[in-house]
């Protein structure tokens, strides 16, 4: 396992940080989060034209840059830090990864270059209104109809589901259950029979949608009934990615709390000189550094196809989620009254911490997955 970044990776991170500081300041985040789509197509093109971020972990033969999970982790950490409003997690992390694992080579050639270029916005629809993150929660059916399939069911909590051009859907053979009979499909965002509705999300920087499929014609990705393994692998990489995104946000919060403590004067002295503040800041640093270690170790495990990946992905997801939320709570506390106002930016990260804590499964769920992976 790799415990440090190369000089190139460090440089990549600092370029990215400067870029995102400029493109995604809180004023821009606040403007975009008020829109229904939650992102801006012109700014999105800008982002991809200049840095090619959507292509980062997609293989070169499919129009990508051919980097791996470590570089993807760096991108996500920086995006989490900047609270970037863009359909990156949905398209590059969830949809592209599912396609990479599930689709045939010909389908990858057809689907991935558009996502890699940022021209196609895709997403992955797997969770349903029951809110389960595992395959047992999938009730949407795919019925064979000649060469194509017809999808029936409801998907919920679909990231950018109301704006995506292309939707990768996880569905099952009628009558199957658990890991059996699962397959991935693709559907155009405007396919007949598909109705989409944006959900009102507490975290306005992360848009979710409800998708209803009524006999929607869909293309099968890869082999019918072989979706369980690609789904598991997609979820593992997504958990690693989200963990990295979360530690970026947590570190940003920690720094903003420190900046504020250094500015604020009460009882005739900087509040940063009170041990109650100093000890809290020290604890926050410990939490964030431990979570970074988890996120980096999991990304490294994913890059090396380490057999420990299933356990480490869940470990990192659970650890980063708890740290992000705890750091957000401390940051509001350190800000005092101002931290509870809408005008102060802390709540933007607080809400992202809350949605990330639950998205892809909460810490309790992931700790149980980790224990199972370790045969405890």
């Amino acid at each position: 396992m790799q415990f440090s970044f190369t000089d190139e990776q460090q440089e990549f991170r600092s370029v990215l940080r400067r870029f995102l500081d400029e493109k995604s300041p809180p004023t821009v985040v606040r403007r975009l989060m008020e829109t229904e789509s939650g992102w801006d197509r012109a700014a999105w093109h800008d982002l991809n034209q200049q840095l090619g971020l959507t292509a980062v972990h997609i293989p070169e033969e499919y129009g990508g840059q051919g980097f791996g999970p470590v570089e993807l982790g760096i991108v996500l950490e920086e995006m989490g830090r900047a609270l970037l409003c863009a359909p990156y997690f949905s398209s590059t992390v969830l949809a592209a990864t599912a396609i990479m694992h599930a689709a045939s080579p010909a389908q990858k050639r057809a689907l991935l270059p558009g996502i890699a270029a940022g021209d196609t916005i895709a997403t992955l629809a797997f969770t349903e209104p029951n809110g389960r993150w595992d395959s047992a929660g999938i009730a949407t059916t795919a019925t064979r109809d000649g060469a194509a399939y017809r999808l029936d069911g409801t998907k919920s909590f679909v990231l950018d589901g109301h704006t995506a051009d292309q939707i990768v859907v996880l569905a099952r053979r009628p009558g199957s259950s658990g890991n059996d009979g699962l397959s991935f499909f693709t559907v155009a965002g405007d396919a007949p029979g598909l109705s989409r509705r944006a959900l009102k999300t507490m975290d306005a920087t992360r848009k979710l949608a409800l998708l209803e499929f009524r006999s929607v014609e869909a293309e099968l990705l890869g082999e019918e009934g072989a979706g369980a393994e690609p789904f598991a692998r997609t979820m593992q990489l997504a958990a690693v990615g989200l963990a990295n995104e979360m530690v970026g946000g947590a570190e940003k919060l920690r720094e903003s709390a420190l900046d504020y403590a250094n500015l604020r004067v009460q009882f005739g002295r900087s509040i940063a000189s009170f041990q109650s503040m100093k000890h809290k800041q020290a604890d926050m640093l410990v939490d964030v550094e431990l979570a970074k270690s988890a996120a980096y170790a999991a990304a490294s495990a994913a890059a090396e196809n380490d057999p420990e990946l299933p356990a480490l992905a869940s470990l990192a997801k659970a650890c980063a989620a708890e740290t992000y939320m705890q750091t957000a709570i401390h940051t509001i506390q350190i800000h005092g009254g101002i931290g509870f106002t809408w005008d102060n930016d802390t709540h933007l990260w607080f809400k992202r911490a809350k949605s990330s804590e639950v998205f892809l499964g909460d810490p309790t769920y992931h700790r149980e997955l980790m224990m199972q992976a370790w045969n405890v």
Binding site: F3, Q275, H279, A282, S293, A294, R367, M371
Partner: protein, 418 residues
Amino acid sequence: MSEQTEASVRAEVRAWLEANWSPEYGLVEWRNKLIDSGWGVPSWPKQWFGRELPMALERVVEEEMQRVGAVSVAKTGIRRLAAATLLVHGTDAQKERFLRRSLTGEDTWCQLFSEPGSGSDLAGATTRAEFKGNRWVINGQKVWTTSAHHADWGLLLARTDWDLPKHQGLTYFVLNMHQPGVQVHPLRQMNGHASFNQVFFTDAEVPPENMVNEIGRGWAVATTTLMHERRGADGIGRWGQSSDRKGRIYDEERAENATVMEPYKWYPQRAGRVDLIVQRAKETGRNTDPVVRQEIAKLLTLSKTAEWTALRARAAQMQGRPQGPEGSLGKLISSHVARAAARVHTLISGADAMLTGEDAPMNGLIAEILVSVPAGSIAGGTDEIQRNIISERVLGMPKEPRTDNDRPFRDVPKNLVA
């Protein structure tokens, strides 16, 4: 300027070991040979037994020594601290007298810093050193002194001036432990072991040539010792591991370790023994309880991330990058791990956690964990002091206003017990 690379150092030390190493040497005989070669303390100055290798290359030498099973110079415990401190602050005469015999292990040491009245506030020491006639006369009491009962020499921090502010009135001495004015009593801990001592001085004597650095410079010297102590705090598991190989020198090394390591035999339990958790959960069947599973998972997460954070710090150090925050957190994190482990061991053991000795799980080992863990967050800098250090040195936060730095030490409020 030498152009030393990892490969050149590796080749050189390997060749030297091939030509010189044999397990049939006596321990002191071999260490003298090693010291003469410069491979014993390769990062030290050439004038004092070293080769001026960068710290990062010292690891290469260690690896090559371990590869052939060569015994190193005496590094265990306080001897390393004494040697490192005297190397920086000692006179040439002190270096001549003490360095070699510390590295061979012939001289053993203890650290006479903490006092009943000054723990975290080490600079508040009240043990007095007064110059009378031709010698320093020492009176007072030290505590938490590991190995004092078999040490030849003590590193003593004592007050020589009560009219100066606290840090300026301290002086550092090397004190001969074998004299009538020094009395050593073991201190029994809540876990039943007695790893530390109380040391009483009644007109103990130090000749003037055993003062280290100058009068009033004691705090600076002590800081050097403490810095080396903190750096080595996570190394207790590594040093003192005896080889099970055959040969005269290994027998002697094992005997040395048996004495030196005796006070530390409960230290693995102090760290929480996370390594036993899964086995214990399976044996007791507690691994089927979903609540216990969650608690075990949290503990394993903490323990793993602690390990990775230390590895990140080490990797950055190897690459010659400036130390990031991850390097300063280890002591505090290890307290968290230990406390969490004690809690989960209790959860797994259930009612058996009330027992000790042969009636308790693992012949009392689990009980020893439960009553040893509280030491970790106190010894070597309490968690609270660690948080102060992290917030001030890593995060750059201001110090709390102080009332003890700007006045004669005799006017500073002190503990009534001392």
